[in-house]
Structure formats: structure tokens, C-alpha cells
Subunit: 240 residues, 2 copies
């Protein structure tokens, strides 16, 4: 998903959270910050974290080096803020009317983003930077924490619709917004096999792998593998 | 898992595949190769891929620079061969007597490796190098392909024991070694949520996350989510 994995370079931030250098959404400072973010992403994509310099960011953003040093301090600060800014967009998770449809749309966003070379390059560069900078890793963690927190809405809707319940036998009473389901784990479960292949085992992903991730997550969810208190039950055999 | 994620630095390779510089297992050339591998891993851990130099490898392996250039050509060749060598060990997947036990042991190997700073550092350095070197990425892909191919034995045993069948209704006939289960996807499914948290979302992993990965994979497997022809069925609701 382009937003989940990072940066839509062209999209202007809505500025939903106070951040260094942002005075008001859409203002000159916000535009400066977005230009700097774009230059950071371009530099990461072109040279990787080790090759990124403040000089490059200055040349590609049109923002003077002294301003960059004053506001962002160093390369780590620039990279971390680019990630913070990527997380301040208005992205909302898919709402297709069913848990299966929502999870499928999420999985397809990942596949589509990472088969688009431009999006893939900047997303991959951010993930790579986290290996080399503690602050980039912290910013990436915050980014995904926030992103997956938004995705939890999709699980809450499924519970409200009665598609999912912590205890399958209690499905009828599923009017409560929360049924003891680890929504964060459930939504991560769809992305995990895709990112694992992309960045760890270095295998291609496609619709078949996405579909398998959706099917596995749904089956696990229906069997209670993501219920907070029900993990032991699920492992003993969901088909029985 | 220490071997799945990389290198046990101290372990001598069994030399199961012909590789550059290996004349016979356990011989002088194999010892040289292992010393070079250790130096490469130490350098990656200490400086990362961008900071790794042939000079460093020479100084830390005791192998002359001209020898390194002649046999491995460059840094990419050194890193790729270190990964090839990591994959030539005699590691076999756990065999606990049950699919659940085997998957749990696999998941715990990942957690244990990545909470051991020494193993975590070199494994992480190899994964990081793949972001910066095409040849390292190819070597990592080969490493995991081979590693997960070994893990498929664990699924085949489960099928033979009748614990798992492509079609749950056909469990009784599960004498055949292969029942149309995508064993590779099944074993990857246990590792994926752990590596995803470690290297993408940068979240901690522990026994609880491992247990959840096992429960989700088992539930999905029992529901038929990993059967080659049964994906669509599994997504419609495994608890029914």
C-alpha cells in the first residue's frame, strides 16, 4: 500500500500532528518541509542512507544548508522527519463492506506499491535506512504503529457486522465494539508474508501470494488465533 | 533460528555444495573460506555494507588482499560467498513429533536468534546488505530458498502422520507424501510475522508473538489456506 509502506511523494501533508518546522498546514513552512522530504526520499532512493548528504538535500529542495542544519540538525533528523511527514497524511484503510474485501484491498495495495518502481524505491529506502540509523528505525516504528492503528478500524467494523468474534460461539452477541481480538496482529498478518518475501527472502510477490495471505489471515481469525485469550484453542486444530 | 537467519560464525561448513575456493570439506581452503566469511560478518556487523572494505577483511581474516581479490573479486563477491557458506551447513528443521511442536520450535529459533545480540547483528547485517547489493540480495534469496526447502520436510511428515491434508475431508487417505499443500508458504507463514516486526515495523518479538504466529499458521493450515487448489474455500470462514 503506497501509504502504508511510505511515501506518495507528490501528496501534500495535511499536517495533522505538530512537528518541527510546521507552523500551519499548507503554509510556507509546510511547503518547505514537503520539499525537503521529497529531496530526502530522492536522495535515499538514489544513493541510499550512507550516501545521503545535507548538500544533496539542499540542492534538490532549494532550501539553504544553514536552514536544514538549524531545523533538522543532521541527516538522521532529516530522514526521521521525512518519515514523520509520510505518516501525517489522511490515508484511511479500505472499507469494502466485508473483512475479506478489506484485507484483500490492503494486501493488493502492498503488491501494487512494490511493483511500482518509484514507490517501491522510496519505501524500500526508508526500510533500509532503519538498518543504519536508530532514529530512522524509531521513526519507522512510529509510522507503522500509527498506520496499523488506523487499520484496526477494519477489524472493529467486522466485529460490529458479526463477521468476527473473539469466541466464535459468541458471534451472536458481537454488538460490542471490542471482543478481545488482537486487531493489530490480525492486520499485520496480511502484510507480513508480503514484506517478508520482498525484503527478507527477496522473493517476488503477486496476487497469488496476496490472496494466500488474505486466506490464511481470515482462516486464522475465524479460528480464534487472534483472540487475546484464545490462542491456545486455535492451535489445536481449527478444522475440527 | 540461528541458521535460518544466518550465521553461526563458529560453525565449520560441511561443504555440501561446490563453491568458489572450496577444494575439499575441512581442508585448508575451506578453513580459509570460513576465516574470510567470519571477517566479512564481523565487518558487516561493525560497519555495515557501505563501510566494509577488502582491507578490513584481509586484516581480520589473515588472508592477503591479493588472494581475496583473486578468489572473490570484490566486496559483493565476499558478501555473497559468506551467505553461500552460511547455507552450506547441516542444519535440519526441528522434528518434535507434531506439526505444532515443529512450528513452535521454528518460531522460537527466530526469537532466540534475534534476542542474542551477536547472532542478531550478523543476521541483520546480511539482510541489510541485500538492500545495497544485488548480488547480496540474490545470495540471500538462494539462502532462504534452500533453508525453507529443508523446512518442507516438516510439512511432509505432518501429512504422513495424517495431521494435515489438502482437503480436510480427505484426512483419512493422507498416506501420500504430497497432498497439494504449499509447504513453502506454510513454513514461511510462521517466520513472516516475526521478521516483519523485527525488520519492517521495528517492533519487539517475544514468545507471545511467536505463539500467535504458530497458532495462526496452524489454523490457516487446518482450514486449507495453504492447499494449492483450496485457497478460495479457506477464505469464506474456517470456523463454520
Amino acid at each position: 500500500m503506497s501509504d502504508e509502506t511510505v511515501p506518495d511523494r507528490g501528496r501534500e501533508s495535511g499536517g495533522t500532528a505538530p512537528s518541527p518546522g510546521t507552523r500551519r498546514p499548507g503554509g510556507r513552512t509546510a511547503r518547505t518541509r514537503a520539499a525537503v522530504r521529497d529531496a530526502v526520499l530522492a536522495g535515499l532512493t538514489e544513493h541510499g542512507y550512507p550516501g545521503l548528504t545535507v548538500e544533496y538535500v539542499a540542492a534538490h529542495s532549494g532550501v539553504h544548508k544553514t536552514t536544514l542544519y538549524r531545523r533538522w540538525k543532521d541527516i538522521e533528523g532529516l530522514v526521521a522527519d521525512a518519515l514523520d511527514l509520510a505518516g501525517e497524511d489522511s490515508w484511511v484503510p479500505p472499507d469494502t463492506g466485508s473483512l475479506e474485501g478489506d484485507l484483500r484491498a490492503l494486501a493488493q495495495e502492498v503488491v501494487v506499491s512494490f511493483t511500482d518502481p518509484a514507490v517501491a524505491a522510496s519505501g524500500s529506502a526508508m526500510i533500509a535506512a532503519a538498518f543504519q540509523s536508530e532514529r530512522a528505525a524509531d521513526a519507522l516504528r512510529d509510522y507503522y504503529t500509527e498506520r496499523f492503528a488506523r487499520c484496526e478500524a477494519l477489524v472493529e467494523r467486522a466485529v460490529r457486522r458479526g463477521e468476527l468474534a473473539a469466541d466464535p460461539d459468541a458471534a451472536a452477541e458481537a454488538g460490542a465494539a471490542h471482543c478481545g481480538i488482537d486487531a493489530g496482529a490480525l492486520v499485520r498478518s496480511v502484510s507480513a508474508p508480503l514484506f517478508f518475501r520482498l525484503f527478507i527472502t527477496r522473493e517476488p510477490v503477486d496476487d497469488t501470494v496476496a490472496e494466500q495471505a488474505v486466506a490464511a489471515t481470515l482462516a486464522a481469525a475465524h479460528a480464534g488465533a487472534f483472540t487475546v485469550a484464545g490462542r491456545a484453542d486455535a492451535s489445536s486444530g481449527a478444522s475440527s
